[in-house]
Amino acid sequence: MNWQKLTNAQIAWRAAQDIEDGAYVNLGIGFPEMVAKYPPEGRDVIYHSENGILGFGEAPPEGEEDWDLINAGKKAVTLNPGASIFHHTDSFAMVRGGHLDVAILGAYQVAQNGDLANWRIGTSGIPAVGGAMDLVHGAGRVAVVTDHTTKDGKPKLVERCSFPLTGVGCVTRVYTSLAVVDIEDGHFVLREKIPDISMDNLQSLTGAPLHLDGAVLDLITPELT
């Protein structure tokens, strides 16, 4: 490979650039939470947590946690001015009712028709779904941040998900370690790729055809690890 894929931090940075000023945003637990570290200068973003918080801020210093104030990932958070607290059903009313502008989630697989699989691999072991199946409905747009392939090199952008689905036709944009891909009319449409990878190589790491619709921009991010 004569290219260097983006780090998770860089993927998160790129996803953060698309969040509009004043947006209400839910970030999935784990990797997607990193998006909150890179809000573009001057943009006000309000983060939603499933357990009933709007407007939470950074983690408190270690030792100063208040465990009655945690996010959906059960990490201690703080409140920004203008925050509000509500119960779980009101919280999911915000989600399901279409009040969030953006949800950014992780993925095992994303299909070219927008299907998302991110809650379990196969049918053995202990299943756990959390809020993922709710979050794919209702947000103005549902984006995914993910490595472009699995650890053993298999495509995560696929023709059709083989893992159990989280939602049908819900994802509209995928930020990967190699590219930014939109989902339109049942196709992957390549918008950006890292400069060093060839189209052929990128296609070979992608499980369904990458369509073009206008220029493919260079995907360039700051150095972030």
């Binding site: 006000d44 607290i85 509500f86 409905h137």
Partner: protein, 239 residues
């Protein structure tokens, strides 16, 4: 992010002809009189917005507020639970002459339909109205041996509400029982505009005291010392 709107004229400027407009309040408590009257002013000046569908618990009382909207000729349809208030002449005359359409909804079903719209629930089942004229034409389904009526969500393009405190993010609190339909109407409308008796800076409302989180609110306009509908009605005011 600052959702503050400078004045009432601007607050009501976006409502187009034919809009579905939810108006909060129950009786005089929580009724956004200044927003309503600003909308009437706009209609008188410009002829717009007209053909409105108004959602409220009642259909106007006296000669102010929703009654004045009806008298002005802006309203095509009312969705409410109880149009027969003590002084409902404005509604009655246009309804009985066929100029004004009425959709009558039981009060609990009305509030649940509004909440369902805000919560992304397109339909739900309720025991209310089963076996009555108001269930006619609706889907019936049995659960655990008991029959229920299916009701649809009720969405709006705009909502006018009256709140006590409001901050730049649109977080709201309400005075006493002025809460009533206001919080759920904020949830159900694409654009909810709140008149607030006092605009406070961010942080001016304790996060646990917020009743309507700002995500449900598009704009706030400060109206200090707002009028109380009940006082206007008792004084025989005509707008």
């Amino acid at each position: 992010m600052d959702k503050t709107i400078d004045n009432l004229d601007e607050a009501v400027s976006g409502i187009p002809d034919g809009a579905v407009l939810m108006i909060g309040g129950f009786g005089g408590s929580g009724a956004p009189i200044e927003l309503i009257h600003a909308l009437i002013d706009r209609y008188r000046a410009t002829g717009s917005p007209k053909d409105l569908t108004v959602v409220n618990n009642n259909a106007g009382t006296g000669k102010i507020g929703i009654s004045a909207m009806i008298d002005a000729g802006m309203v095509r349809k009312i969705i409410c639970s109880y149009p027969r208030t003590k002084d409902h002449e404005s509604f009655a005359s246009k309804y009985l002459s066929g100029e004004l359409e009425l959709e009558l909804v039981p009060q609990g079903t009305l509030s649940e339909r509004i909440r369902a719209a805000g919560a992304g629930i397109p339909a739900f089942f309720t025991p209310t109205s089963y076996g009555t004229d108001l269930a006619e034409g609706k889907q019936i389904q049995e659960f655990d041996g008991k029959p229920y009526v299916m009701e649809r969500w009720l969405k709006a393009d705009f909502a006018f509400v009256k709140a006590e405190l409001g901050d730049p993010h649109g977080n709201l609190t309400y005075r006493l029982a002025a809460r009533n339909f206001n919080p759920i109407m904020c949830m159900a409308a694409d654009t909810a505009i709140a008149q607030v008796s006092r605009a406070v800076p961010l942080g001016g409302i304790n996060p646990v005291d917020v009743i309507t989180p700002g995500i449900f609110v598009s704009g706030i306009v400060e109206v200090p010392d707002p009028q109380q509908e009940e006082d206007l009605i008792r004084a025989g005011e005509v707008y």
